[in-house]
């Protein structure tokens, strides 16, 4: 599963509308509670454990991709 697919599923937007520049809280569903559900889903799909700094720093789709790369996930 790509990060776009997970993002699309968690925040309920069409996968073709997911792009690097979407920022935290810019789309309605991406609030603090759904952010946690989203990160839990990333951990499950990629079998990784994110720490608190990662969660805070996942402020855009681009940043999410960078953070996942630190864990060796080519997303």
């Amino acid at each position: 599963m790509t990060v776009e697919q997970i993002f699309s599923e968690c925040f309920n937007i069409p996968v073709e509308q997911v792009h690097d520049n979407i920022k935290y809280q810019e789309i309605e569903k991406w609030d603090s509670l759904n952010h946690l559900k989203f990160t839990a889903r990333l951990e499950e799909v990629y079998d990784i454990e994110l720490d608190m700094d990662d969660i805070i720093n996942m402020s855009s789709v681009k940043k999410i991709r960078e953070i996942l790369q630190n864990y060796g996930v080519a997303a």
Binding site: D31, A40, D51, I56
Partner: protein
């Protein structure tokens, strides 16, 4: 560096490193700029400062920043940022009282999240863990605004790997979900579990529910963090020691893993969590003053008085020197056994009768 960058730096640098003297030097220039901005952006703040005839650039020390009584948030719109708000926080008011109304801008919210993360990381580490919220999800639902309880759960939730609520909401009533709580401990009891709740809710609802269901858990690495509502517990003669001992017993942890925090809705983003020595410390972006009951002058070490919190996080309300109705005491500075620098203090009590200080005319426009 502009003031926003200075605040960002205060949040991102390692916490609790400033000595008392260093803090004075770092915070005062930022607070002066904040005061000027609030003066320009809010007419109530303007009339307050005009009346004091204060030359902001010449404020000589943090203690000389005029304290703003917390009740002002009940009676005045103190929004100081021109743009749109992200949310409004309300104090959990007791019945019949006007709640405080705290306007939160997107910038304030963003700083609060990062600030709280920095505090949590300093106390507990960056590893996320199973999280038991001793509340119902309703406390955390954003309708018109969220309460201190909801804000605390939201704030601490960055520490959650999995979040489970101990209660459900049935028509505005909290109902204990025994099965869910049992399942949570069955899966996680050997792990470093984090539990969070309102002190009074934990005592009157959670403790009672565990006793009623005859439930005991064995979770030796559980940390229970709780805040708020000591007044009601004192009325039932429940001390901090009794509280910690009882809950540690029921959950199979140790009393020293039960940690009290001091926080309030005006200070979202900042929690003062007990250190190993049982003291509370102010992070880099905040300071604590104790003020004399009558003169409101700064009290020295060992003299109880009103707690004033200086909070540099908000741009959307004047948080730089909020005088609370709480009583506390500074115990020392720079030498706490836990190693954190700066002043350390203890919370003593919440005033029974508030507004006894004749602050009613703070913002009166002459």
């Amino acid at each position: 560096m502009n003031i926003d960058q200075q605040i960002d730096q205060l949040i991102s640098e390692p916490q609790y490193q400033f000595t008392d003297a260093e803090k004075e030097k770092r915070l005062l220039p930022v607070i002066r700029e904040q005061l000027k901005s609030h003066y320009r952006n809010n007419r109530h703040v303007k009339s307050w400062l005009d009346k004091l005839a204060l030359d902001i650039d010449r404020i000589p020390s943090l203690a000389a920043v005029p304290p703003l009584p917390t009740q002002m948030f009940k009676y005045f719109d103190l929004q100081t940022s021109p743009g749109e708000l992200q949310r409004i926080l309300y104090s959990s008011s007791t019945s019949g009282q006007t709640p405080s109304r705290i306007p939160i801008s997107p910038l304030t919210a963003q700083r609060q999240t990062k600030a709280l993360a920095a505090i949590i990381k300093n106390h507990f580490g960056a590893k996320r863990r199973p999280f038991l919220a001793i509340d119902s999800p309703a406390s955390n639902r954003e309708a018109r605004g969220i309460t201190a309880r909801g804000a605390a759960i939201r704030g601490f939730s960055i520490l959650a790997r999995e979040m489970v609520y101990a209660f459900d909401d049935h028509d505005g009533r909290m109902v204990f979900n025994e099965e869910r709580v049992r399942d949570f401990f069955r899966r996680h009891q050997a792990e470093e579990v984090f539990a969070l709740g309102f002190t009074f809710v934990i005592w009157s609802e959670f403790r009672k529910a565990l006793l009623d269901a005859n439930l005991r858990f064995h979770c030796p690495n559980l940390v229970l963090v709780h805040g708020g509502g000591w007044k009601k517990l004192r009325a039932q003669s429940v001390s901090k020691e009794v509280f910690s001992g009882t809950l540690a017993g029921l959950l199979g942890s140790r009393p020293e893993n039960v940690l009290d925090y001091y926080g309030m809705v005006e200070q979202t983003g900042i929690v003062f969590i007990d250190c190993v020595a049982g003291h509370k410390h102010a992070p880099n972006f905040a300071e604590v003053k104790i003020r004399n009951y009558l003169t409101l002058e700064e009290n020295g070490i060992g003299q109880p008085g009103y707690i004033e919190i200086m909070n540099l996080l908000p741009d959307s309300y004047p948080g730089m020197s909020i005088l609370t109705e709480d009583v506390g005491e500074i115990l020392g500075a720079d030498d706490c056994p836990c190693g954190r620098k700066g002043k350390y203090f203890v919370f003593r009590s919440r005033l029974e009768k508030s507004e006894a200080r004749g602050c009613g005319d703070t913002f009166r426009e002459n």
